[in-house]
Each structure stands twice: as C-alpha cells, then as structure tokens.
Amino acid sequence: MVYTLPNRPQLLVIGAGVAGGMVAQRAAAAGLNVTILCDGPVVKREDLVHRFRASDPQTMMSPYPPVPHAPQPQVARTDDYLIQKGPVPYAQQYIRAVGGTTWHWAAAAWRYLPNDMKLKSRYGVGRDWPLDYWDIEPWYAQAEEEMGVAGPEDAPFDAPRSAPYPMPAAPLSYMDQVFHEKLTALGYDHISAPQARNNQQVYDDRPPCCGNANCMPICPIGAQYSGNIAVEKAQAAGAELVTNAVVHHLEVGEDGEIIAARYLTPSREEIRVEADRFVLASGGIEGPKILLMSTQENAPDGVANSSDMVGRNLMDHPGTSSTFDSEMPLWPGRGPNVISAITNLRDGDFRSEYAARKLMILNMNPVEGIAKAAIDEGLSGDALREAVRHRTARRQVITAFHEQLPDPANRILPSTEGKTDLLGLPRPEIHYDVGEYVARSAEDTRKRTERIAQSLGAAPGSVEHSEDWLPNNHITGATIMGDDPRDSVVDADCRAHDHPNLWISSSSTFPSVSSVNVTLTIAALALRLGEHIASEARP
C-alpha cells in the first residue's frame, strides 16, 4: 500500500543538511512552495552536548543518537553499515539528522582556487569543471555571508575574492604563532584558516566562539555554523519539513521528468510525494545510492544514469598525520580545533605529477591518548601526573589533505550481495583505492613534516607518521558534473542530464576534490541552485 501525500510542492528537497537546507532556504524565500524530506530526526544541540559528555568513549559520532531506520557509519566500525570492498577502506562518517554532517565539522570554509577547477586543462590530470571559478565567486561570497565566515584578507593561496570576509580572521593560538614563525622561516605560506565560526562578535544572532575546543564533534554553543540553521530559515520562510523519511526511489515519467519520490517511514509505511521539481541532497553516498536503487522501465540502469557514471569517481581527501613532541611547551587544544594551514602546496606545476595538499596544525587537546600511553608505560603517582602534563604541552600533530583524482573504478553500489538495512534497503557497497598520484604526494608530505618537526626541536627519528590513509568525510564525485552527458551525471547547473526537473546538491557533483574542505563550495552551489530553480519557476 503506497500513500500519496495530498500536497504537491513546487520543489521537493531530499536531504536536510547544508546542501539541501540552503537550496530550500533560497527557494522558499523566493516564494516557492517547498517541502524538505530528511531521513533522520531533528536533534537539539543541548541534547547532543549532553550525549557527548556522557558517552563512553567520546568519538566523532558519540553525540549523535542512533537512527535505526537510517544507519550512520560509526567511527570504529564503519563496516557496520558501509560494505568495504577495498582494497582501501572508505571509512567515512556522516550524520543522518536535520543539519547533517556539519554538526561535527570544524567549520573550515575554504574556497577552491581557480586552478582547482581546471585540473585537466592546466595540468593534464583529472577533470575540468564545466564552469569557471568566477561563475561561482559571487555565490561563494553569499555563502560566506550566510554562514558567517571569519578569514584573512589577501592571504597567499587563499582564493581571489570580490568582497571581504564577513568577519576578520580568528586570532592564532599561541601554538599557531610559534608554528608560524618556524614555518615562515622554512619558506611556507602559513595563514589563518577561514572558518564559519563567529569570531569575537555576535553574528546572525549566534554567540562568539569562546574556545570550547570541541568543534568536532559538537560546538556546544552554536558559535559554529551548522546546516540545521539553513533548514530552520527555510522553515521560517514557509518550507515544510518531514523527518524520518527515507527516500529510496524516484519515479520517472515517459517524458524523462521525475514524477514522485517514494520514502519509507521507520515503520516501513511507503509514502509517495509528487512535485514539480526535485533536488537530491542526500549526501555523497546515500544520494547516488537512491539513484541506483531507482531502476525502472524508464530508467533501467537507475535514475540519471544513462552515462553509467552514477556512483563512480568517488573521492575523498586521503589524509596523513605526523605526530611529534616539540621542544617547548606550546599547549595544543586552546581555542578552535584547527586555526591555521599551510597553503602554498595547494597549487603549482607539480600537480601534473603528484597531488596538491593542505597541511594543518591540529589544535585538539591530546591529553587522553597521552595519559593512557603513560599508564601503559607503567608510570604512576607524581611521575605519571607530571608526564601527562609535560607531554600534553608538547604533543604536535600535523595533518594533510591530499587531492585525489576522479577514477570511475572507485564507486558505490547498492549491495550486490543482498545485504540490507533495517528497512530492507540495500547497504552501500564501496570499491575504493588510493593511487600513486596521492602516494607520491604523501611521501613528500612526510619529508616536509620531518623538517618542520626538527625546526620545533623534535628529537631525530621521533616523528610518528600515520600508516593508513585517514578518512576526512569529504565524500565527493559520485554524481559528477560535466558538459558531456556521456560521461557525467549533471550539468553546470547541477541539473541531471537525463531529467529536466531533477537537480543534485552535493559534493558528489564535484569533478575535483581539490585539497581543501568542501562545505563552502557545497553551500555556494546550493545557494546558486536555489536561485536558479526559483528563477526558472517564476512565471
């Protein structure tokens, strides 16, 4: 029994993270009748903070309640939901609740560089975007204004801009200041990171950051932007929000238009929503999975998939970390989790040979791991107490995001082995590898972090480098954007080549992942898309 909702919105947005929220916000503000479907519940910040403080252990996902009908990959066991076919695990996490994964981001709000969108034509690798940086530059500015970004003016290897940041850059921590001196002497460009977090002022009725040092996994006070804000603004503008609605099928009409979306409730009732226009904003894994599950007579290989590119070209920022003890106490963990970055490795002719990257000085309190290790060494009493203090003050971690190229072999599929979730929907099956382009860059990163550690007085041979690729939850590429319908899923407007009334709002449309966090670009494209749809809908 399928029940069709009586209300037929002009726009149905599937997904209530920043990607869906901002489309809905803009379209609703323009007067469209908008409905938003979210697969998870509404969550409240105070509940999340309470859950975090009470949880054992505390991880990136510990604030977020389990959603049995919409599983979320966990930290220790992403394979509880994601089916990892390897050879490298794609161990990403995402949050299925109103607000999405920006609940546990670190508010890094970077723009792509113009060359990030011209990899093929400039460096002969990867793909070009079907649009130019300056096509979306005004939308970057609007996204920064909407999210409240604090950033540095005229910083090297920060993207060119038509308007100043809404807020001045957050001050560097003492640790960052010392790093800055050393890194500058080594020839690096080390800048304040642009962050969507209120810097020493109230912005958009949200308080200034007071250094709770907990941007990940939950900002306790809402100084940091999160996607629920866009959804709430959309609702204030008239949008309707439906929660716990797990979309699993899009119906295609004979003319190629999407007719309806079908969702399951937690009790497996099936509901059908007809609409004039559809935006799929369900994230980089669930979104492609919905398209691939939607096989039918008018879309035998799934929706938007005449190119066979849906689910392919999956990317992330394969990460590395280098850990060492500085000679002097610098006390990481004061203020926001990441305040600065090395930027001059973001671009250059080397990109024809190996990956661009962004290096960051981690500013997270490391005391727990240090305490456990000291106890395991057999320390106790005053010696333990002093060792924990001494080491915590000096423990430094440099992390790196490496740019991965799109590869059609890296892909997500609905389980090919019949493995399903609680609603009976196929779990995501992922085939993923990290190639030599990234490996060559990571090797260079290790050499560089060794030199940086030496400059801070680390003992020779003491730097510990991560062995496996670290995931960064920047799920990209699986509904890739391009001009050619034969090898891409959406066009430069993020409209599906195959379906004139279906758009995709997600980092899954990105033809390149660059070396910077993807959320600001998601937001810019979402605002642009909201305006585009509203303009098209106007009589």
């Binding site: 002097m328 997270m364 005391v367 305490a371």
Partner: protein, 138 residues
C-alpha cells in the same frame, strides 16, 4: 585573565571532591569498610591529593573487593593498577571485554593535570580570543 574561569571551575570541583573524601564523609558511610583506605590508595597511585568522589565511587564499583584490598595492601597486580589508573585519569572504565562505563567527564584526573592551560573540551575556555595569549606554562 584567561586562565581564571578554568582554574575557578577546577578549584570548585577539587574542593567539592576533597570534602567528599574526608573520613566519615558520605563515601565512607555508604561503601564497603575499606572505602577510605581505597580512596587513600587511589590518591597515592594517581599522584593527586584530592580525587573527585565520582571517580572513586565509580572505581569502587567496577573493581571487586579482592582487587581493592590488594591495592590497599600493596599487592595489586600491575594490570589492575593500570586499569584503575585509566579509570581515574579518563573518568571511564573500559575493560578489554565488556562494555565501557563513564563515571565522570570534566572531573577526570587527566584534565586536572593540565587545568591551568587547557579547558576541558566542550566547556568554555575563557573570553573570545583567549587562546592567542601565551599559556601560563609556555
């Protein structure tokens, strides 16, 4: 001064905890006969003169009488002592087998080790921008 809010909060916690550990206090009255000695042994083992009551009562709950007695008498195994120290320092007991259990969060001793320079994550650290200042011990 930026350190003030952190220090004040910690002082409050330590003061409240120390009071709870005095002989004859609630803990001693409500636990096994060796509770006061166990608390004293925890203090000696951890390097802290005052341990929040939540940590000691939590530890007393997960470590059996023979283990606690062995600790008091100086016969505890290294394994037991390490497990107890992790409970006191992290606020959480995480056995190799079985479910972890948290007894305390901001009161965990590891945060007391660094309280003059670092706030407990999720609690406000000070005035906006305080982190730009040089920490007390830097």
């Amino acid at each position: 001064m930026t350190e003030t809010p952190m220090f004040t909060r910690r002082l409050f916690l330590a003061g409240a905890s120390a009071a709870a550990l005095l002989p004859g206090a609630a803990l001693a009255q409500s636990s096994a006969p060796t509770s006061v000695e166990f608390a004293a042994a925890c203090r000696a083992l951890s390097g802290f003169d005052a341990i929040p009551a939540a940590l000691v009562t939590g530890a007393a709950k997960v470590f059996a009488d023979p283990d606690r007695t062995a600790l008091i008498e100086g016969n505890a195994s290294d394994e037991m002592k390490k497990s107890l120290l992790k409970t006191l320092y992290t606020g959480m007991h995480a056995p190799e087998e079985g479910e972890p259990e948290r007894f305390a969060y901001p009161e965990a001793l590891m945060y007391a080790c660094v309280e003059d320079s670092l706030n407990v994550p999720s609690f406000c650290g000070g005035l906006p921008g305080y982190w730009a200042e040089k920490p007390a011990d830097a």
